[in-house]
């Protein structure tokens, strides 16, 4: 299905967020996730299913002032 990953359209297979993170290569990465602008804690990824067109944000540590 098609989702929006960090603002870019993306074809993905997995619908469960935890699987999707694997699929996207973020397994074990130091990142936080939000689906449709709501924070999804790491512990809740397994119970979180994405649907066509959902917006997924995967954020990582970056420089800041």
């Amino acid at each position: 299905m098609k989702i929006i990953l960090n603002g870019e359209p993306r074809d993905v297979t997995a619908s469960r967020l935890s699987d999707l993170m694997e699929e996207l290569g973020f397994a074990g990465a130091k990142v936080a996730t939000a689906v449709n602008e709501d924070f999804v804690p790491a512990g809740a990824r397994a119970q979180t299913k994405l649907a066509e067109g959902d917006r997924l944000e995967v954020l990582a540590p970056m420089q800041g002032g």
């Binding site: 290569g25 954020l59 420089q63 800041g64 002032g65």
Partner: protein, 258 residues
């Protein structure tokens, strides 16, 4: 000297340093080592396929100092709150440098959104470091909302103009004798950092002046030393400035030679 704690944490020294805009990660690390900065501010950004964020994090972690995640660029309460939650999970800290930006050019805080976001985040267990103005009433509301630290700007972020309104900062210090105060933003030179501490502030937070200096590590160290010097001067009880001159060398006992 009263050492005001930051949510129970005592700063190793009065410098909080940003991690943005350095020529290279190596130079960033060098700047932190050279300055012995007590806190490193960081942010959250979209992770790239290459996992740039992972490398950045490894480097920051190696600094071995507390990180203070910010909500830079957030313009709404919801955005700031969500960002704070994501940051807490990633950085595993209750600390958050709360920025709710109200003005894109000056990056002036939206004090309305700021107070609201501070209230929400405090209730959710965060320890909020609010980036605010020198407005005393806003400050009062932030404290009521649960903030135990205030971080008024000295001048617009990245301007390097120093303290645009020392009077306002002095009034803030006088008004809140027990609250840790940090000048956040605007500091461009060590003399600015020293001046902030001479006013009785507890720390300075800066980034651009160090990252964009020709020699960031040297500048970082200079900022830390100046902040410490200003702090020491405040503690040492400085002389009162005098409108008229006074001889430092005693006149009495001077030989008669003319």
């Amino acid at each position: 000297m009263v050492m005001r704690g930051f949510y129970g944490h005592t700063l190793a020294n009065p410098l909080m340093l940003g991690t943005a805009g350095y020529p290279s990660p190596a130079i960033l690390a060098e700047a932190f080592r050279a300055s012995n900065a007590a806190v490193a501010t960081v942010s959250l950004r979209r992770e790239s396929a290459g996992g740039a964020g992972q490398d950045f994090w490894a480097m920051i972690r190696d600094l071995g100092i507390p990180v203070l995640p910010n909500t830079a660029g957030c313009h709404t309460v919801k955005e700031a709150v969500t960002t704070a939650h994501m940051a807490r999970e990633v950085f595993d800290t209750p600390w958050v440098k709360l920025e709710v930006i109200g003005h894109t050019d000056s990056l002036q805080p939206d004090v309305f959104g700021l107070v609201e976001a501070a209230r929400v985040l405090t209730e959710e267990g965060f320890q909020v470091f609010p980036y605010t103005t020198d407005d005393l009433i806003v400050a009062e509301k932030l404290l009521t909302a649960g903030c135990e630290v205030l971080m008024p700007w000295g001048a617009p972020i990245g301007s390097g103009l120093g303290l645009n309104n020392p009077y306002g900062l002095r009034a803030m210090r006088a008004e809140f004798p027990d609250v840790p105060l940090v000048v956040d933003a605007g500091i461009g030179l060590p003399s600015h950092a020293a001046q902030a501490m001479e006013l009785g502030f507890d720390a300075v937070l800066l980034n651009t002046a160090v990252a964009q200096a020709g020699d960031p590590a040297k500048m970082a160290k200079a900022m830390a030393e100046a902040a410490l010097a200003g702090q020491a001067a405040f503690v040492a009880d400085p002389m009162e400035p005098r409108d008229m001159a006074e001889p430092s060398t005693p006149v009495i006992g001077k030989g008669f030679l003319e």
